[in-house]
């Protein structure tokens, strides 16, 4: 009986650890993404960029494995079904964010867009905003597991920053289409800007659902 109890405790601990590790992966990916785009803007598809792109791919792969393990644990460890469903949904939402970071980094790698230097600061700023938005989403998500009352504070930050990214990407696109660049070039950069800004939109969607989970768990 005592062994059973200990085994349940250790299994719970291991699940808690995996969830924490999953959040760590998200923080890592935002940091590397920010750095990678800065390098791309100055060095284009350099060895450094390739290295960072590979790192993001590896994180995406590791996150997928962790997600599957968490999902498996959620269904085998006798959790309350309601919580199980919410945690599962949350982990899948977070995984979507990691995947999108990987997709965007790869898009830059494959397409090698020719981005004029006058847009570098704005694009770099947009990437920083997106990263900050996701970071706050990750902190909100982590808080959901330990301190639900803090989720709302970080959620508010995510909403604010996501709005800022909308404004930044809008201005960047406006400037882009006002420029004498070739239409093909404009469309290519426009698609990339949209892809970057979309990451913040996904983070916002995650927060929307997270807030519902918090209401459901409210004591």
């Amino acid at each position: 009986m005592f062994d059973i109890k200990l085994s349940i405790f250790s299994k719970n601990k291991s699940l808690e650890k995996k969830i924490d590790l999953f959040h760590d992966k998200l923080i890592d990916v935002t940091m590397i993404f920010k750095k990678a785009i800065k390098i791309f803007l100055t060095e284009k598809r350099s060895e450094d960029y390739k290295k960072l792109s590979k790192q993001i791919k590896q994180i995406e792969h590791d996150a997928d494995i962790l997600r599957r393990e968490i999902e498996n644990d959620l269904y085998t460890k006798n959790l309350i079904p309601d919580l199980r469903g919410d945690v599962l949904q949350l982990v899948e939402n977070l995984d979507r964010v990691v995947n999108r970071f990987d997709e965007v980094t790869y898009k830059f790698y494959i397409e090698q867009p020719d981005i004029p230097s006058e847009y570098h600061i704005r694009l770099s700023e947009l990437c920083s905003q997106v990263s900050e938005c996701v970071e706050n989403m990750v902190i909100a998500s982590r808080s959901f597991f330990r301190n639900t009352s803090a989720v709302r504070d970080y959620a508010q930050k995510v909403y604010f920053i996501e709005n800022e990214t909308d404004i930044s990407s809008g201005k960047l696109k406006e400037a882009l289409f006002d420029s004498p660049l070739a239409l093909a070039n404009k469309l290519q950069i426009n698609a990339l800007v949209s892809a970057v800004a979309d990451i913040a939109d996904i983070a916002e969607d995650c927060i929307d659902e997270l807030l519902i989970f918090v209401i459901k768990r409210d004591v």
Binding site: L15, I80, N147
Partner: protein, 351 residues
């Protein structure tokens, strides 16, 4: 002791069965309804503990019902339980809130009137005041528990996964305690009226299990409640369990604990004696409604959360139940006793 005893006991057993079928949802309703606990686990736990509660701690509330009216003929006891069961059936049909505790008290008063025996007004008023006190006390306990748990959760920052495990374990333990308290408090409704006329003897198994005649009667009653839980409570939980308690797992846990504590307080002779030894006021041991305790607890938490806790329509319906259920049970018991005595030539009371 012939088969006639079991025939007369059947109305009490039916009451027990319906009590198990309906009141198990107050103990395990949310946990099973939201699939936190499997029905099988809940039913087995509830059945075992309801029987233990009935046999071990059921005497206190039965004594109080005995003080209200000592039904001294088996046929009379049968009709009191039958009239109560009939009242419950009709009240449920009319969608009015009903409690076995209220019905049986009405039935006993009906028997008192028919047999010309006086009803102790002091005992009656003690019972009625307990009915009113039950949801209020459940509400107060729920609020205290709610505030403590909220504070602990805020300070301790337990991981949600660990909290989930504690909640689940807590629901099983609270459910077991709730079932024990239900058996201890409500067995009087099921078997209390048969105590004075029961021909059953005590039971002794190698000096390990020793039961007196009342405990044997309560064991039979406890089994009938357990059968109600096993055979029909799942259906009740599926249809009504979730409506009453659509709440988070922790709130559900608080509600179950509050309800169990109230039922325990009103049935524990040990607790009563302990409080008396401390020169504190004596707690009346009275069968109360577990459903009304649950409603009181939910309303209490509603108030603590700053919402509209008290739904006056629900309070009104409960108050109607307090008046209507015993009145109808008394009236139907009186009429049915007349038929039993004059049409079927049964002895329904001894002078």
């Amino acid at each position: 002791m012939g088969y006639s005893f079991f025939f007369f006991l059947s109305s009490g057993l039916f009451l027990g069965w319906s009590l198990g079928a309906s009141d198990a949802s107050n103990v395990f309703g949310t946990a099973v309804g939201t699939k936190m606990i499997r029905f099988r686990t809940a039913a087995i736990t509830a059945s075992v503990f309801v029987i233990i509660g009935a046999v071990y701690a059921g005497s206190g509330t039965s004594k109080t019902l005995g003080e209200l009216g000592s039904i001294n003929a088996l046929a009379g006891a049968f009709m009191v339980a039958f009239a109560s069961a009939l009242t419950i059936f009709l009240m449920v049909k009319a969608s009015l809130p009903v409690s076995t505790s209220h019905a049986i008290v009405g039935g006993i008063i009906g028997w008192n009137i028919y047999s010309g025996k006086p009803t102790d007004v002091a005992v009656f008023s003690k019972i009625v005041s307990t009915w009113i006190l039950c949801p209020i006390l459940a509400g107060i306990i729920a609020v205290i528990l709610y505030l403590i748990i909220k504070l602990v959760l805020r300070k301790s920052k337990i991981h949600l996964i660990a909290l989930d495990y504690y909640t689940r374990t807590g629901l099983i333990l609270a459910g077991a305690f709730g079932a024990y308290a239900l058996g201890a408090n409500n067995i009087a409704n099921v078997m209390g009226v048969f105590v004075d006329s029961s021909p059953l003897h005590g039971f002794n198994w190698k000096n390990i299990i020793e039961l007196n005649s009342t405990q044997v009667l309560f064991l039979i009653g406890g089994i009938s409640i357990a059968l109600g839980i096993i055979t029909y409570s799942q259906k009740v939980i599926k249809t009504v369990g979730n409506d009453l308690m659509a709440m988070s797992p922790i709130i559900a846990l608080i509600v179950v604990i509050a309800q169990a504590l109230v039922l325990f307080i009103f049935s524990s002779t040990d607790l009563r004696d302990f409080l008396v030894s401390l020169s504190l006021p004596e707690i009346p041991l009275v069968p109360v409604s577990s459903t009304q305790a649950v409603i009181g607890a939910i309303m209490g938490i509603g108030i603590a959360k700053g919402g509209k806790g008290i739904k006056w329509s629900v309070v009104g319906r409960i108050a109607i139940g307090w008046v209507l259920t015993p009145t109808f049970a008394a009236l139907s018991c009186f009429i049915l006793l007349f038929f039993l005595e004059n049409v079927f030539n049964q002895v329904v009371f001894l002078p």
